[in-house]
Symmetry: C2
Subunit: 451 residues, 2 copies
C-alpha cells in the first residue's frame, strides 16, 4: 500500500480527542447491534430532543428558498420575512455564493451590535470572523500562535480536548494549569504562575492562555474579579488570551451573570493584551450544532497580524452561509413587539429553564452517590464529578464498563486531564429530566457493584 501508518506524522498520531474516542466508538457499535445508548458524551442538544428555535429555522428556510415568502404567505410571520429579506440583501447573492473570507458584513455588523449591547462597549465588525463552529476559530487562533515546537499554550486542567488535540496537531506545547476544584473550579494566580514558571524552566515559550468560561467540562462560571486577574496575569507575562465563551447563555446559578473578557478588558483600559474570543450557535439556547455557526472576535491585534489571520481564513474561502444565518438569528432576535417575539421568548425561556432544572437534578443526584462529589453545575452543559475508584482501576475502565453494563456513554476525566490521583468523568446535562434521573440511578447502581 502506498500509504501506511509508518508514513503518518507524529503530530497526527499523537492527537487525541476523547469526546469522540474509543468509548464513543464502542457505544456506536453497541447501538448498531440493537442496544439502546444514552449519549451523555457530547453537548449535542438536539440529538437529545431539544427543539430548534422557530425564529432560527424560519430565517434559514426563507433564505434557502426565497420564493416561500410569496408561495406560502401564511406560513411566516411578517418580521421573519422582513429579517430574511434584509439578510438576503446583505448576502448580495444569496446563500449559494462564497461570502467574504471573514463572513458576510451584514452578519458581522449584527455580531458587533450584539457585543455592544451585551457589554456596553464598542465592537468593530472588521475584527470579527465568522467561522464553521467555534472549533474552527480556535484552530485558526492556535495556528497563528504556535510558531515553533517550543511555543506553549496554557490550557486549564481539566480542559476541553479540542485544545490539547489542536496544540498537539500544530506541534506546540501544552502548558496545563490547574483549576481549583475545592474553590468552584476558579483560576488562581498562584497556580497560573506555577504553571508558567515550570514551562519556562522546561524551555517552553508560553504565548497565550486559554480560558473556558462558563467552564467545559467543569460547569463553573467565573466571577468578574477572576476574569480581571487573568487579564493582569496575561499582561504581566506578555500572553495573548483565548476566551472560549460559547456557553455564555448557559448560566443557571441565581444571581450569577456572564462576564466577558472583552468587557473586563475594556473596564481595565487594557489595550496591550491580544484577545481572541469565541462564540457558537451550537450551545446556549439555540443548540444548532449541525449548522456549524460561530465567530471569533479579535481585540488588540496589530494590522499586520490581522492581515495574516485574514489570509489564513481565505485559503478555505469562507465559513458556510447557513451557519452564518444561524449566527445572525442568535445575535439578532426578533424585534420586541413584533409577531415573532412572544413565541421566541417562550421557546428560549423553556429551553433555558429546562437546562437549569436538569443541571440541578444531575449535580444533586450525583452528590447522593457514595464516593461521588460534584460541584454545582452553575453554567455550561456538563457535570464533572470526582469519584472514588477501586485500587488499580482507571476512569477509562470505569467508563467503558459503565457503557457495557448500562448503555450510558460518558467521557473519562483523563480525556480532559485532571489532578493526578483523582478520577472524574464528564456527562452532559442534556437528557430529558426523566432520562437524566434514570442515568443517575444507573450510575449509582453500577458504581455500587464496580470493583
Amino acid at each position: 500500500m502506498s500509504l501506511a501508518i509508518a508514513d503518518i506524522g507524529k503530530a497526527v498520531l499523537e492527537t487525541e480527542y476523547a469526546v469522540r474516542g474509543p468509548i464513543v466508538a464502542r457505544a456506536q457499535e453497541l447501538e448498531r447491534s440493537g442496544r439502546p445508548i444514552i449519549y451523555c458524551n457530547i453537548g449535542n442538544p438536539q440529538a437529545l430532543g431539544q427543539t430548534p428555535l422557530s425564529w432560527t429555522r424560519r430565517l434559514l428556510a426563507l433564505c434557502e428558498y426565497p420564493g416561500l415568502a410569496t408561495q406560502a404567505p401564511g406560513a411566516f410571520p411578517a418580521d421573519a420575512i422582513e429579517a430574511a429579506k434584509a439578510l438576503l440583501n446583505g448576502t448580495k447573492h444569496g446563500l449559494g455564493a462564497y461570502s467574504e473570507s471573514k463572513g458576510l458584513k451584514f452578519v458581522r455588523d449584527a455580531v458587533a451590535a450584539f457585543i455592544s449591547r451585551r457589554d456596553g462597549i464598542a465592537a468593530d465588525p472588521d475584527s470579527i470572523y465568522l467561522t464553521d463552529g467555534a472549533s474552527k476559530g480556535v484552530q485558526a487562533a492556535l495556528r497563528l500562535l504556535i510558531a515553533a515546537p517550543s511555543d506553549g499554550i496554557m490550557i486549564p486542567i481539566p480542559q476541553y480536548p479540542l485544545y490539547s488535540a489542536t496544540i498537539t496537531m500544530y506541534e506546540g506545547k501544552q502548558v496545563g494549569y490547574y483549576l481549583d476544584e475545592e474553590n468552584d473550579w476558579a483560576l488562581s494566580r498562584e497556580l497560573l504562575e506555577d504553571a508558567l514558571a515550570k514551562a519556562a524552566k522546561a524551555g517552553t515559550k508560553t504565548k497565550a492562555i486559554v480560558v473556558i468560561n462558563p467552564g467545559n467540562p467543569t460547569g463553573s462560571v467565573l466571577k468578574a474579579a477572576n476574569v480581571k486577574m487573568v487579564i493582569r496575569f496575561a499582561k504581566d507575562h506578555g500572553l495573548a488570551i483565548l476566551a472560549d465563551e460559547v456557553y455564555q447563555d448557559n448560566i443557571y446559578r441565581d444571581g450569577e451573570s456572564f462576564e466577558s473578557f472583552a468587557k473586563a478588558m475594556t473596564e481595565l483600559g487594557e489595550t496591550d493584551v491580544s484577545l481572541f474570543s469565541f462564540h457558537s450557535t451550537s450551545k446556549g439556547f439555540l443548540g444548532e450544532c449541525g449548522h456549524r455557526g460561530g465567530y471569533m472576535e479579535v481585540r488588540n491585534v496589530l494590522p499586520d497580524v490581522m492581515a495574516q489571520i485574514l489570509k489564513m481564513q481565505s485559503v478555505s474561502l469562507c465559513s458556510n452561509l447557513s451557519g452564518q444565518v444561524a449566527m445572525y438569528s442568535l445575535v439578532a432576535p426578533p424585534p420586541v413587539g413584533g409577531p415573532s417575539r412572544a413565541e421566541y421568548d417562550h421557546e428560549r425561556g423553556a429551553i433555558l429553564g429546562e437546562l437549569k432544572a436538569r443541571a440541578k437534578l444531575l449535580a444533586d443526584g450525583l452528590n447522593k452517590i457514595p464516593g461521588f462529589r460534584c460541584n454545582e453545575v452553575a453554567g455550561a452543559m456538563y457535570a464533572f464529578p470526582r469519584f472514588e475508584l477501586p485500587a488499580g482501576k482507571t476512569d477509562e475502565q470505569w467508563c467503558m464498563a459503565l457503557l457495557e453494563k448500562t448503555g450510558v456513554c460518558v467521557v473519562p476525566g483523563s480525556g480532559f486531564n485532571q489532578l493526578p490521583g483523582t478520577a472524574h468523568f464528564r456527562t452532559t446535562i442534556l437528557p430529558p429530566r426523566d432520562q437524566l434521573a434514570e442515568v443517575v440511578k444507573l450510575i449509582a447502581a453500577f458504581h455500587a457493584e464496580y470493583k
Copy 2:
C-alpha cells in the same frame, strides 16, 4: 502588544493564496469606492447570476423547517417532500445535531450509490467523508501525508493555490511538475519522472501526487490513458494520489467524458495505490459555493490509517449539515418520472449549456487578441491564456493595471505557478455572455495600450 508579527510562524507567513490575494483586496476597495468590478477571479457562479437548482433549495428549506410540508402543501412537489422526509429520517435528529464525524450515513450511502452509477464500480460508504467543501477534504489528506519537512507532494504547474498554500502551511515541500501547454495541458510521464528525480536529489521524500481533472486553472480534460499513466507512475514510485475531481460535471468539449481515478484504478486492478478523491457542491451545475458541501472518497488505505483520518475529522466534530444536504441533492437527483424531474433536467441543462457557450466565447475571444494564445476550455470554469508582456513587466503588474483601468479582476499566472519566462492569467468563464464579451473587449483594448 502581546502578539506581534514576529510571533507568527514561518509556515503562516509564507502561505500565499492568490485567488483572494492583493489584487482581489484592491478590487474590493475600488468597489466600496463606487467602481463597478467584474469578478473573474474565483469560481463563484451564483455571485455572477447563476440560479440555484430548485431541487437543492427545496430539500434544504424542507429540512430546515420540516413544518413547511404541511403548512405550505402547495409549495412543494411530492417527490421533494418525500426526499426531504427520507433525509430527515436519515439524520435522526434533523439538521441541528452534530452528525457522525464522517457525515450522515444516509448521505454517504447516496454518495456511494452515485459513484457506483457513475463508474460502474463498487464504492464503500464507510470510506467516504463528507467535508465543508472540497478544500477541507484536501487539507485533511495533506495533513495526513505531510509527516516531516522533507515530505513532498507533487502538484501541477500551473496548479490551484489551495495546494501550494496548504503544503506551505503544513511545512511540506512542493514538488512541481509541468503540464504540457502545447499538448492541451496533458501530463507527461517524462515530466513527472524529471520532477520526482529532481526532488529526490534535493532530499525530498515525495509522498503523493495531486491531479486536478478537469483542470484548474487550465480548463483541460484528461484522457483515460493519461489518468492510467498517472496511476502506473504512482504505483512505480509508491505515491498516493489526490484526485481533485470537483469539475467532473463541467465538460464542454464534444465527445469528451470524465474519467475518474477510481474507475481507472479499478479497471487496472490496482489495489496498492492509495487514492483520495474529492468532489464538491460548489462547482458543476449546482454552484452552491456558500453551502460548503463536499466529500472525500478514500481507496486502498489500511484500517489503521483510516482510523487516523476519522480521528482527525472528529476533532472538529462534523461538516455542516446544510452542506451535507446540498451534497445529497447533487448525488441523488429527483426520480425519473416524478413531478420535479422535468424542471430539474431543464435547469441543469440550461446551466451547463450556458457554461459551454461561455467557455467557447471566452477562449475564441482571447485567441483573437494579438499576443494571446489560449487552449480550448474543454472543462472546468477557467481559461488560462498565455500572453506576451512588455520587457520588464510581470503578470501581477499587468493584472493590477487591468483592474485599475477596466474593473476586470483576474488572477496572475504567478499565483498558480507557470513555466519560467511565460505569463498567464486565470479568468473564470462565469460572467453572463454579454458581460464576458465585454470582458474580452476590455482586455483587448487594455493590452493594446499596455507598456
